[in-house]
């Protein structure tokens, strides 16, 4: 332990920085801060003008919100910095862990390693011959035979891809965050509104949008079933046109843009007469303004529109239905910036101001088309898909191994191991053997002794020679969620304990230097129920001795969260 502390002290600053930046500890801290910040972001209404906060909250609180940027949490510089920090952590974690995961994927699951390691989750002895069907029933398509120390082993492995689960999950999250961030910077979002027949420029795209038609399908109860806008987008540079329809939940694609049927409102054809002669007419959407050509200082503002107007004394102006039964417009008239009139007027009625007359006619509904050009959307979608697949791999694609050999007495010894699903595989193996009518004998003391001999001699040496394939190393290499699965599903195995205790940066070296304590981890951390199985593989005296070693060892490592973090991230 002292040696380890000294080793850490000797680490260079860049080394310590590297460990810190890709550690799970940092990830946990960032995630906690993100969760807290998001909570604030959802509780405080976002994106309002300063006056809103001053009117809504006490002055000191409003000032604090504004000063800290809690009125725009999700675009605030420190939130972006936090996300960037998380990205750095995910990236470095992915880089640092890649060789380890690849090595495990390529090297761990080979018969020589497995035969030598003797760390089966379940071992059964069978007196007669094992039916060939067992392998396929257990889901193993291919098996191989290998000779280790003069003994022949038949070995099969499946679902190896599961080792990539947690690693890919981190990568998927990285892709999503980067894609989302880039999307905020690179995407173009604008909107165009109008009534059928109008052609308008789509700002910033070099394209125009023509609204060919706009239909609102109503049900019998007058509720809206669907909004459908028939649109034509023309690219000025190429002269090409793309036509289609945009509906709610069914946007239209054109020239790399996506057009959404966003909302609707009312528009009127407003005519301006001067001395009873038509001077000007224009389709005006609610919220727009119009002025006589020769008197720009006189401005009519089309404020609101009610298709079935009714004035309620308490509620004020309202519409009784969406049908054009009693159409009224609310308007305001300005002259040189001063309000000179504000009222409601029926469609077809006149508003007279000196020589000018304003008339609202032909009310119709306009459509507002939202236009989005986000080159990163598919990138983000890929990240989402990757994350999802990775989670399936991490949680449900459990690497399973099955191997078999004949012992000195001629019995078939069948062993299994699953990093994340030992109990499930154990049940399945027993059930399958039962269905195949295979009578299972538990291992006797003799068998246990035989295996224990190998454990004591071969395993230690093996661990020293091949630290990478050592369990301690694996646990240290295991990503968080991966480890979680392993630790949770195989709580009695040594991996679980090591997973929490082994520092990552030192795993290989440590395993090489301390092979004995690693092997002994079995005895130290297994509860009684499972001890029976494993104890059979290890001499009693060994187990107790190692148990004490491992306990002390574990305590020491518990004080080293940084190393552990970097291992599990």
């Amino acid at each position: 332990m002292e040696e380890k502390k000294n080793r850490q002290k000797k680490r260079s600053l860049p080394g310590r920085l590297w460990s810190f930046l890709h550690s799970m500890k940092l990830a946990v801290v960032i995630l906690i801060v993100l969760a807290v910040v998001c909570t604030f972001g959802s509780l405080v209404t976002q994106g309002q003008p300063e006056s809103y906060y001053l009117n809504t909250y006490q002055e000191w609180l409003a000032k604090l919100i504004l000063r800290l940027g809690f009125d725009r949490v999700f675009t605030c510089w420190w939130f972006v910095a936090l996300a960037a920090f998380l990205c750095v952590n995910l990236l470095l974690c992915s880089i640092s862990r890649f060789p380890q995961v690849l090595r495990r994927f390529q090297k761990e699951y080979n018969p020589e390693n497995r035969a030598a390691r003797r760390d089966a989750d379940d071992t059964v002895a069978v007196s007669g011959a094992l039916p060939e069907e067992l392998w396929s029933r257990m889901g193993f398509k291919k098996k191989q035979t290998v000779s280790v120390d003069g003994r022949e082993y038949t070995y099969a492995v499946r679902n190896r891809a599961g080792v990539w689960g947690a690693w890919l999950c981190h990568l998927g999250m990285l892709v999503i965050i980067i894609g989302f961030g880039l999307g905020q910077m690179l995407s173009l979002e604008t909107s165009v509104y109008g009534v059928p027949g109008m052609t308008k420029e789509i700002p910033g795209t070099g394209c125009t949008l023509r609204i060919d038609d706009f239909d609102i399908a109503l049900r019998d109860d007058e509720t809206v079933e669907q909004y459908t806008a028939a649109l034509t987008v023309a690219d000025a540079a190429s002269g090409r046109e793309v036509s289609g329809t945009a509906q709610v939940n069914a946007p239209m694609d054109a020239f790399g843009m996506r057009l959404y049927q966003n909302s609707t409102g009312w528009a009127c054809n407003v005519k301006i007469y001067k001395d009873d002669e038509l001077q000007k007419e224009q389709i005006l959407c609610a919220g727009e303004t119009i002025s006589p050509d020769d008197m720009p200082e006189l401005v009519l503002v089309f404020t609101r529109f009610y298709p079935d107007y009714y004035y309620d004394r308490t509620v004020g102006p309202m519409t009784l239905s969406s049908a054009l039964k009693n159409p009224y417009a609310i308007f305001a008239l300005y002259y040189e910036g001063e309000v000179i009139a504000m009222d409601s007027i029926g469609v077809g009625y006149n508003i007279d101001v000196d020589a000018y007359r304003f008339v609202f006619e032909d009310p119709q509904q306009y459509t507002l088309i939202q236009i989005l050009k986000d080159p990163t959307m598919h990138f983000v979608a890929f990240g989402g898909l990757l994350t999802l697949l990775a989670l399936v791999l991490a949680f449900y694609v459990r690497t399973e191994e099955l191997w078999m050999y004949a012992d000195a007495g001629g019995r078939q010894i069948l062993c299994m191991r699953s990093r994340k699903g030992a109990e499930l595989m154990k049940d399945r193996l027993r059930t399958t053997l039962g269905k195949l009518g295979v009578k299972v004998d538990e291992l006797t003391g003799d068998d246990a002794g035989h295996m224990a001999d190998r454990s004591a001699s071969d395993d230690a040496g093996h661990a020293a020679e091949e630290p990478v394939s050592d369990d301690a190393g694996h646990a240290a290499e295991e990503p968080a969620s991966d480890d979680a699965g392993h630790a949770a599903e195989e709580p009695v195995s040594d991996d679980a304990g090591h997973g929490a205790e082994e520092p990552a940066s030192d795993d290989a070296g440590h395993a090489a230097e301390e092979p004995v304590s690693d092997v002994s981890g079995h005895g130290a951390e297994e509860p009684a129920s499972d001890d029976a199985g494993h104890a059979a593989e290890e001499p009693v005296s060994d187990v107790s001795g190692h148990a004490a070693d491992a306990s002390a060892h574990a305590d020491g490592r518990g004080t080293d969260p940084m190393g552990q973090d970097s291992a599990e991230q």
Binding site: L34, R219, F395, A484
Partner: protein, 268 residues
């Protein structure tokens, strides 16, 4: 018909809550067996109520507060029955049945009127999104129950009844982890399918709407659970406490956000 079935399910869930409580308090096995039958019957009647509503509405009943609340309770009941069968863990019902009853009770207070869907809700992605949420929230509900058992177990006497009906701490931790794994996977699906739906309906796959933000907070809480559970001293009691906090976030995401915060999800 739907009202009768729904009320029947509500009553049966209440009976199961009482039976599970008595089973635990009086330590009588027969009561536990009866509670298991009653909650299974409640689930069957509940399923029938939802099916009848689905037929009447001509769509999956997953679109408003009532429909999602009743589906939420149904999801927890389903997950509970699956986990009970898989792990032979009857006592879990003592902690999960009250949650089911409270949520279906909340549903009973909502309007059961069947309305035509507004255009934004007419999407297959919505059906997938909410279906995933049912499984996810159901799993988290079960994990909550298991974690409550974990937290209480240490204070319970180590008698024969508890030994027989309550798994040991390791097993409880394992069941909770498995429930959270399933819930986490489906919560990720909820967020992805929700993002796809939002993009098609509103032109933005992520708007930091309070519901979206709280689903992210919930996701982060469970991601933290999966990470820190490995750390020394965190597995076990602290992880169980974290699972409880996670489920409180789930409840707030569903009910709290709708009632206290405003956003695009005002209908759900």
């Amino acid at each position: 018909m739907e009202n009768i079935l729904f009320t029947g399910a509500l009553a049966l869930y209440l009976v199961s809550v009482a039976l599970y409580f008595l089973f635990f308090a009086l330590k009588k096995e027969k009561l536990g067996v009866a509670a298991g039958y009653v909650i299974t019957a409640a689930f069957v009647v509940h399923t029938a109520a939802m099916a009848v509503r689905g037929v009447a509405a001509g769509r999956l009943p997953l679109t408003n507060q009532y429909e999602f609340a009743t589906s939420f309770a149904w999801g927890i009941a389903l997950c509970y029955l699956v986990f009970m069968k898989k792990y032979h863990f009857r006592a879990l019902g003592t902690f999960v049945a009250p949650v089911i009853f409270l949520i279906i009770g909340y549903a009973s207070m909502q309007s059961r009127e069947i309305n035509e869907l507004m255009p934004a809700l007419q999407s297959n992605w919505l059906a997938v999104h909410v279906s995933c949420a049912i499984v996810s929230y159901g799993s988290f509900g079960v994990a909550f129950g298991v974690s409550m058992v974990y937290l209480f177990r240490a204070r319970m006497a180590d008698n024969e009844f508890n030994q027989k009906n309550l798994p040991d701490a390791e097993k409880l931790d394992l069941i909770s982890y498995r429930a959270i794994s399933l819930g986490f996977l489906f919560l990720t699906l909820v967020m992805i399918t929700g993002a796809i739906w939002a993009e098609r309906a509103w032109g933005s796959y992520w708007s930091w709407d309070p519901k979206e933000t709280w689903s992210l907070v919930t996701w982060i809480i469970y991601a933290l659970y999966l990470h820190i559970r490995l750390s020394k001293g965190w597995k076990g009691k602290k992880a169980a406490a974290f699972a409880v906090i996670g489920f409180l976030c789930v409840i707030f995401t569903y009910i709290g956000v709708n009632t206290l915060l405003s956003g695009l999800h005002s209908y759900a």
